[in-house]
Amino acid sequence: MEILLQLIYSGIALGMIYAVIAFGYQLTFATSDTLNFGQGEALMLGALVGLTLVDTLGVNYWLALPVVGLFGLLQGALVERIGVRPAIKIKSEFGWIMSTIALGIIFKNVAENIWGRDDLKFPSPLPEAPMKVLGANVLPMELLVIAGALVMMLAVEFFNRKTIYGKAVVATFNDRDAAKLMGINTGLVITFSYALSSLTASFAGVLIAPLTLTGATMGAVLGLKAFAVAIIGGLTSGMGIIVGGIILGVAETTTGFYISTGYKDVPGLVLLLLVLAVKPAGLFGKSAIKKV
């Protein structure tokens, strides 16, 4: 029982990371109907930049966070400008899928050449001794991940709902053409949503890094599973991705423990296929009415 509880705790922490990345997918999908297939690489770059700041330059972990965030913003804007905008402009059907994948490959390769191919240990900013919660062990870092992820998502939601810039984002989400006619620079809004999306991803990277190892290859599978979360929860539902993330995270840690760590990625992906077969709009999403 204690072990199960412990698995659930770390599953929730992992699930929150998925939720944050999935949240990033939602942001760009809302404004532009596109998403960054290199989202996992954005996370990986965030973690590695954080590692360099903390480990090599000796910056305090908490001070490194905003710097990594800034880096994420720039990286996301870059992806949008090189990868997405030109592809949308030439009306290529799946150009942006290919170009964001390509950028992801390039980022991964560059990271391999800068930070090497080996996985690196990220020093934990909090004590590594576990605490007892309801009789099971929890790492303080796991609690930080959960809190950090929630704060991150709430901050972006607050921004979208309460500020005038956020309202421009929401307007673009509702009707891109109408927003454009109202004088909103929708191009800028889309760039901004990508920047924000990468910001959340790189932030997630720095959060998860002390719990796992950091390396150039850490992003790909995380990005894919976060997509599964986005689909399971629904691409339009904030609640959905948190629930979806937790389901997936717990499924994964328990599978890893009770069956085999080799299979730990399988339940999430199978769940993805199942949800799509049964309810394509996701557990919490609304299905759209097609117009003829």
Partner: protein
């Protein structure tokens, strides 16, 4: 297939088969062999990517399944070559169906991610199921032995060549058949495909299954060719590589697939050699610069548009000289290539060359269309009179979107052999009614009976096949297909031949194809488009597109034809012609429901007119009575009820 094309293909294959005679270097033989194996896979991938327009990132996984089916069957059962090849194809095709069933409920980015997830699962399973696959250790499989003869590198090369030729033939036949047209149609307009009786879902799955079959064949041959397989080969990079090959070579062409295969096999070899890469990058940069200068001088392009590629290639060349070892940066260069292809080579190399050539020889090609239409045969099949007086009876139909009642308790009774007008102001629910009748929407309440059978809850394609054809308010043609092919899609239901008939070109298929072509030409002639049969639908003027939609709908041999504003955007003489066409359709016993805003047209040809306003039926009767009805006048002109 024209004769020149066949001749060129035969020559090419003879040359290909002669490679081992000219060079005995096993390295080169193996290289060409790999290219051919990839080409087989790309033929299949192109069906999904090029024709149905779906992105698949799962083909490396399917390739792996093919290879491992071969490996496992050999290792565990010692199965012979002639069992293993069909088994690999069949097993992979089954997996293709498994992938397609959930994945194809979604499209675009969803599908891409889902197929990627599928590929990842396959890789994990191959890695983990050690009792079957030996896991990360990999499998060894020797070259096959058939009837006591053991194939060596050279003779196996010929086996691959033969299978490539066979694959090419099969793919070619499938894609020009009704199956290929169905694949292309569901890319052009999914809604219209469904309404032509071509079930989008079914044919997407079909396309995936065929595509997976080719991937399985390729995987099996790959296992024999490499003689060693391990899970890490079938990763996501390979899948992206395949996709790049299809796009870079050129979609919807077999030549493009073969070019693409050549590029992705040779590319890593090229990138292994730094000197070579430096040279290629420099030459590329110089060519790009020269091209840009010429382009700008001739005012064909601007400095701004050329700046990015020129600077990009120059930077690549400098990068090449700065590098000390290239192997570490291989993936980055590969990524840059993808970007380049996506932005500057969208139609692939074949498409690019074609557009260069057609630039010069346009006009010469346009004049060859003069089909001899057999005027004695009537292209429209007379609708059979089965059942009672009413073709369609709708009772208390309610269609609700959230709180909005788009159709509110409407009754409709359509008499056989009449032209029934459906009019009403904009937003009164006319098109919604069409969508309900054709199964695009499922009504919230009420019953609809067509020929005594309920249509509620049935799929659009099923309803279409039972005899309701339609046109669309905003034209839904298959843009990249010719006018003739558009009509042939409508004739899809006349084909009973299956994949095997098509692949073997049996007489049944040949017969059906011949009669369908003749009927399609007849139908085009009926609406006056015979001269434009070979023109792509998207290039037709708007009025002609509407006529083409009618021809396509007639191809379904409908009992009931729904025309949604057929006269919109037509000139006065065109409308006259349209009226006579509609009358002729009615004279064939086909019942017509006509939505139209041209009142004089409605009043002149309709036998009965129903008027909708705000989702409710406010009047019905003879045209003259309806015209005089106060409620109708009020709905159209406004005013207060007294």
């Amino acid at each position: 297939m024209n004769r020149k094309y066949v001749f060129a293909s035969v020559i090419a294959f003879v040359l290909l088969a002669l490679v081992p005679v000219f060079t005995h270097n096993p390295y080169y033989i193996h290289l060409v062999e790999t290219i051919m194996i990839y080409a087989i896979l790309l033929f299949g991938l192109d069906i999904v990517v090029g024709y149905t327009g779906q992105v698949s990132l799962g083909h490396a996984g399917l390739f792996g399944i093919g290879a491992y089916t071969a490996g496992v069957l050999f290792l565990k059962l010692g199965a012979p070559f002639w069992v293993i090849v069909p088994a690999s194809i069949a097993v992979t095709a089954v997996f293709g169906a498994l992938l397609a069933l959930p994945a194809l409920r979604v499209s675009g980015p969803y599908l891409a991610m889902v197929t990627m997830a599928f590929g990842t699962i396959i890789q994990i399973l191959i890695n983990e199921m050690t009792f079957l696959t030996e896991g990360p250790m990999g499998l060894k499989i020797p070259k096959p032995t058939v009837a006591g003869y053991k194939f060596d590198e050279q003779s196996f090369y010929w086996v691959v060549t033969a299978l490539l030729a066979l694959s090419l033939l099969v793919v070619h036949r499938v894609l020009r058949s009704q199956l290929g047209r169905a694949f292309e149609a569901l890319r052009g307009s999914p809604v219209a495909s469904d309404c032509m009786g071509v079930s989008v879902y079914k044919y997407k799955v079909y396309a995936f299954v065929i595509s997976a079959g080719f991937a399985g064949l390729a995987g099996c041959l790959y296992a024999y060719s490499e003689q060693y397989i391990s899970p890490n080969t079938y990763n996501n990079e390979l899948t992206v590589m395949f996709l790049l090959a299809v796009i870079m070579g050129g979609r919807k062409t077999r030549m493009g697939s073969m070019l693409g295969a050549t590029i992705i096999v040779l590319l890593p070899k090229l990138l292994d050699d730094l000197e070579m890469f430096r040279m290629v990058a420099s030459v590329l940069a110089v060519l790009m610069l020269i091209g840009a200068i010429i382009g700008i001088a001739r005012k064909m392009t601007t400095v701004q548009t050329m700046a990015v590629p020129v600077v990009g290639t120059a930077a690549l060349a400098m990068f090449a000289f700065w590098l000390e070892s290239i192997t570490d940066w291989r993936l980055s260069i590969f990524g840059l290539m993808i970007l380049f292809v996506v932005y500057y080579l969208q139609d692939g190399i074949v498409g690019f060359v074609r557009s260069l050539l057609s630039h010069r020889s346009r006009g010469a090609q346009m004049s060859h269309v003069a089909h001899a239409v057999d005027s004695s045969a009537d292209p429209i099949i007379r609708a059979a009179k089965n059942g009672g007086d009413d073709v369609l009876v709708a009772k208390e139909v309610l269609m609700q979107f959230g709180g909005l009642k788009a159709i509110n308790q409407v009754d409709l009774r359509i008499k056989r052999g009449t032209i029934h007008g459906l009019i009403g102001p904009n937003g009164s629910g006319k098109s919604t009614m069409m969508n309900v009748l054709t199964g695009i929407y499922v009504p919230t309440a009420g019953s609809i009976e067509f020929e005594g059978r309920s249509v509620v809850g049935r799929t659009s394609s099923d309803i279409a096949l039972s005899g309701i054809a339609r046109t669309f308010q905003n034209v839904q043609l298959f843009g990249e297909m010719t006018a003739l092919q558009n009509v042939q899609v409508g004739l899809h239901h006349t084909f009973h031949s299956n994949f095997v008939d098509v692949a073997l070109n049996t007489s049944r298929y040949a017969q059906e194809d011949k009669s369908a072509t003749a009927r399609a030409e007849g139908l085009l002639a009926f609406v006056g488009l015979a001269d434009l049969a070979e023109e792509q639908a998207r290039n037709l003027p708007y009025g002609k597109q509407r006529l083409l939609e009618i021809a396509r709908a007639l191809a379904l041999d409908p009992q009931l034809l729904l025309l949604d504003e057929p006269a919109a955007g037509l000139t006065a003489p065109d409308i006259k012609e349209l009226v006579s066409i509609i009358r002729k359709i009615r004279d064939h016993g086909i019942t017509v429901i006509l939505i139209e805003h041209h009142m004089d047209m409605v009043m002149s040809i309709c036998d009965t007119v129903s008027v909708l306003d705000f989702g409710q039926k406010i009047a019905e009767g003879q045209p003259a009575d309806v015209q005089a009805n106060e409620k109708v006048i009020e709905a159209y002109l406004g005013g207060t009820a007294t």
